[in-house]
Structures are given as structure tokens and as C-alpha cells.
């Protein structure tokens, strides 16, 4: 029987090695797999490359992972943090690398990585500093820049419902980068607000088909980042 459920949050991320490339779902706090991130902090892997739209908030979740010195490089579109000095301070101190990618190009690079598309052209960034050093091609009279697909060793994902096969649904705008990141990682680790029996999810409503998912852990009452920050809580 195919069963991708794990027993503990800790065990789902135990084998993430130093130097791994890790996609982390979410847009701000919405869809951020905070329990998986905290487990990665506990686990202690270093020199990570993290792909996320942002750099976390406060001193919990992604910001805490960065603050804990585990991240060598961020690939993101908008590293300005809310209620957080973690990334700016490390960045200004030259202690963390930054690859800035426009949000749509970031999404498309992840989607391409998952879809076996090694590279594509886009008009985004043409005539801006972010296109410097990149190949430009004129197609039908317009200039486009060549961008490469992004893949990861692991993806940390938050979803709403999951079954043991790995079919997933999401909640509102917490969907964001999660479904495309599921497709682009060698090992996709998912925290689900609820686990449901196989057959419960309507096949028309599944957002992530189970082929893209490797590990599932139920976290029924996930921490809410903004509340932790409002309460002054930090991690670890």
C-alpha cells in the first residue's frame, strides 16, 4: 500500500543535508510551512539555499531559519521583511547571498523546473539591471531574456487537506507558490492541516496530484506567524 504519511514532523526533514537547495512554500505567512521550518531549525542543516518569495517575518519561521545562520543564499523576489531585521542585517554584513528574481519569473522558473523545461524566454526584466549579463533574444520584434528552470532537493509545503497518497488541496491565497514547488523538488515534504481518507477528495478538486508528493505529516493546528510575532515569540 502506498502510504506517504510520516509519524513525526522531525522525521520528515531529518535527511536534509548541509548545502541542500530547499524550496519553502508560502507568500508572507500565508501558506508558510512553519512547523516544517522549525523542524529544520532543530535539525540544524547548514549552507542551505532557500527559495521563497520573501525572507520571513519577525523571528519565527523562515526569518528564524535565516537568523540561525543556516542559510547561505536566498533566491526571492522581495526580501524586505515585515517586523524583521534578520535578513537585512545579515545581507548588509555580507553574510548571506541574495539572488533577486521578479515574482513572476520566480514562479515560472519553479514551474519550468518541475515541468522539464530547462529554460524559457520572458519579457520581464528586459531593459532593467536584472537582465544584465543574461541572453537577450528578439522574437517577433520584441526583446526577451533567457531564464533557467529552478529545481530543489527538497520542498517544504503547507496544504489544507491531504490523503495518504499525497493528493492535496489548499486554502485560499495560502495556495500561492506551494503547488508549483511540489513539482520542482526531488523530495516534497507536506504539512497538512488535515489528513483525509483516500477517495474523500473529489478528483476534480485536487490541486496537487499525488505524483508530486513524497512525505506527509498532519499538523492540525499550525502556528500562525503573525500571532507569534504579535506576542513577541521567537524561535527556537
Amino acid at each position: 500500500m502506498i502510504d506517504k504519511r510520516f509519524d513525526t514532523v522531525r522525521s520528515t526533514v531529518a535527511d536534509i543535508p548541509d548545502g541542500a537547495v530547499v524550496m519553502v512554500g508560502g507568500f508572507g505567512e500565508a501558506g508558510s510551512p512553519i512547523e516544517l521550518i522549525h523542524a529544520l531549525i532543530d535539525q540544524g542543516a547548514k549552507d542551505l539555499t532557500i527559495i521563497n518569495n520573501n525572507t520571513g517575518n519577525g523571528e519565527v519561521g523562515l526569518a528564524a531559519l535565516i537568523g540561525n545562520g543556516q542559510v547561505r543564499k536566498m533566491i526571492c523576489s522581495y526580501p524586505r521583511s515585515s517586523h524583521s531585521k534578520v535578513f537585512p542585517e545579515l545581507y548588509r554584513a555580507g553574510r548571506i547571498e541574495l539572488e533577486i528574481v521578479p515574482q513572476g519569473t520566480l514562479a515560472e522558473r519553479i514551474r519550468a523546473g518541475g515541468a522539464g523545461i530547462p529554460a524559457f524566454y520572458t519579457a520581464t526584466t528586459v531593459d532593467t539591471p536584472l537582465a544584465e549579463g543574461k541572453e537577450i533574444r528578439t522574437i517577433d520584434g520584441r526583446d526577451y531574456v533567457l531564464e533557467y528552470g529552478l529545481k530543489a532537493d527538497f520542498a517544504l509545503i503547507k496544504c489544507e487537506q491531504a490523503d495518504r497518497l499525497g493528493n492535496l488541496t489548499y486554502n485560499k491565497t495560502a495556495r500561492n507558490f506551494n503547488p508549483i514547488m511540489c513539482t520542482a523538488a526531488t523530495t516534497t515534504v507536506v504539512q497538512a492541516r488535515s489528513l483525509v481518507e483516500v477517495g474523500t477528495l473529489n478528483p476534480e478538486h485536487v490541486i496537487t496530484p499525488n505524483v508530486f508528493v513524497d512525505r506527509i505529516i498532519e499538523v492540525t493546528d499550525p502556528l500562525i506567524e503573525s500571532r507569534l510575532i504579535a506576542e513577541g515569540i521567537t524561535y527556537p
Partner: protein
């Protein structure tokens, strides 16, 4: 509101937003940037319906929820709590930027740090050595959305012109802006450069010219 009869000199943030809203055709799909552009949603002219897109995965974005009704998993691109109107849909970032980059969004209203006379926009970085670059979805929006409207104060807090011959800040996009709404005037980007479309109450053409670091063509009278 009758914009032209107000006694105050220049337009308020709300008035700029209302003027921009008036220029958006009925039935448009609209993406609103963070800041003053968000106010446009308050001023949809009677009889018109806009559908709001927010790039983090919602088409059919509604206003902010009542206090206490905020859902941390229902937010806009500025990460503020919003609502979804009837007929809304959720989708992932790949699909969301298919809408933007694929030319499916009709109008985007953005803020600006600088706008050049050829419609170049700079709104993501001063280029200062210690600045942390943060581009978000702005470059995708200017590359993919048909009509880019800009709402901005006419000058910076220190009085420097934001409408310039050439941007010296890093560009968001080249030749992308259609029209600019400032506290002093509405200005079109034309093949000949900046052209005045409307003056704010109490503001003279000469004053706008003085605060614009590029030639400004006068209003074309009907």
C-alpha cells in the same frame, strides 16, 4: 465629489485615486499596486464593474474584511487581509503570472519613484549601495499589462522631480507607463514626451513645468 471645485490646491491621495479610477473602462481586469493605488478600489464609478487581480493568487479580490474577520490565509500582494467577492477564484503563482505576463490583465495602477518622458518607470530600488533590492511583481506587471497607470506625488519629500527626462534609478521597465496622476496634474506619456491632460485646482501649468525635470507639452484644448 466634484474634483475641480475643491478649494484646496492640488489633489489628495484619494482624489488621485478617484481620477485614475475614472479612466478605467467598465469590465476591466485590474491589478492595484501597494500604497495609493490600493485606494482606487474605493472609487469605482457608478455603473462600472472592475475585477481585481492580486498576484498572490486571487481574481475577484474584495475590500478589507471587518475588523476581527481577517484570515491570515486570505491576503493581497501587500500581505494585507482582504476578502473574495462572489465569482472569485484562487490559483497558484504560476497561473497568476500567466494572467499578468500573458497580457490578460487590462490595467495596472502602480506607484513610482521616477517616471521618464518616454514612459520608463523606476519604482523598486534607489540603486543605493546599501539598499536591499526588492522587486516583487512590478517588473512582471509592467512587462505584461496593457495599460500601466501611475499614481504618485509630483515630487519627492525633498522636492526633487519624479517626472524626469531620464530615470537615474534602476528601471522597472522601459516605455511602459501610459498616464501619470500626481497631486498637481494628470500627465500623458506621448511619443513626444510628457503632455498635460488636466491641472489640479489652484495649480498652474507653469508650476507643473517647474516641478517637472523634462519638457511638458501643454493641454490640447478641445
Amino acid at each position: 465629489m466634484n474634483v475641480t471645485s475643491t478649494e484646496t490646491k492640488g489633489w489628495s491621495r484619494e482624489q488621485m485615486a478617484e481620477l485614475a479610477a475614472r479612466d478605467i473602462p467598465d469590465g476591466s481586469y485590474v491589478n492595484l499596486g501597494i500604497g495609493i493605488p490600493e485606494l482606487v478600489a474605493k472609487f469605482v464609478p457608478e455603473g462600472r464593474e472592475f475585477i481585481y487581480h492580486t498576484e498572490n493568487g486571487l481574481l475577484g479580490m474584495g475590500p478589507a474584511p471587518e475588523p476581527g474577520q481577517e484570515d491570515p490565509e486570505l491576503i493581497n500582494a501587500g500581505k494585507k487581509a482582504v476578502t473574495a467577492v462572489p465569482g472569485a477564484s484562487y490559483f497558484h503563482h504560476g497561473d497568476s503570472f500567466t494572467m499578468i505576463r500573458g497580457g490578460h490583465i487590462d490595467v495596472c495602477v502602480l506607484g513610482a519613484m521616477q517616471i521618464s518622458q518616454s514612459g520608463d518607470l523606476a519604482n523598486w530600488s534607489t540603486g543605493a549601495p546599501d539598499a536591499i533590492p526588492a522587486v516583487g511583481g512590478a517588473m512582471d506587471l509592467v512587462a505584461g499589462v496593457k495599460t500601466i497607470l501611475v499614481i504618485s506625488q509630483h515630487t519627492t519629500k525633498t522636492g526633487a522631480a519624479k517626472l524626469v527626462a531620464d530615470c537615474n534609478y534602476p528601471l522597472t521597465g522601459k516605455n511602459v507607463v501610459t498616464r501619470v496622476y500626481t497631486d498637481l496634474a494628470i500627465i500623458d506619456i506621448t511619443p513626444d514626451g510628457f503632455r498635460l491632460l488636466k491641472l489640479a485646482p489652484g495649480v498652474t501649468f507653469e508650476e507643473v513645468c517647474e516641478k517637472t525635470d523634462a519638457p511638458l507639452l501643454p493641454l490640447i484644448k478641445d
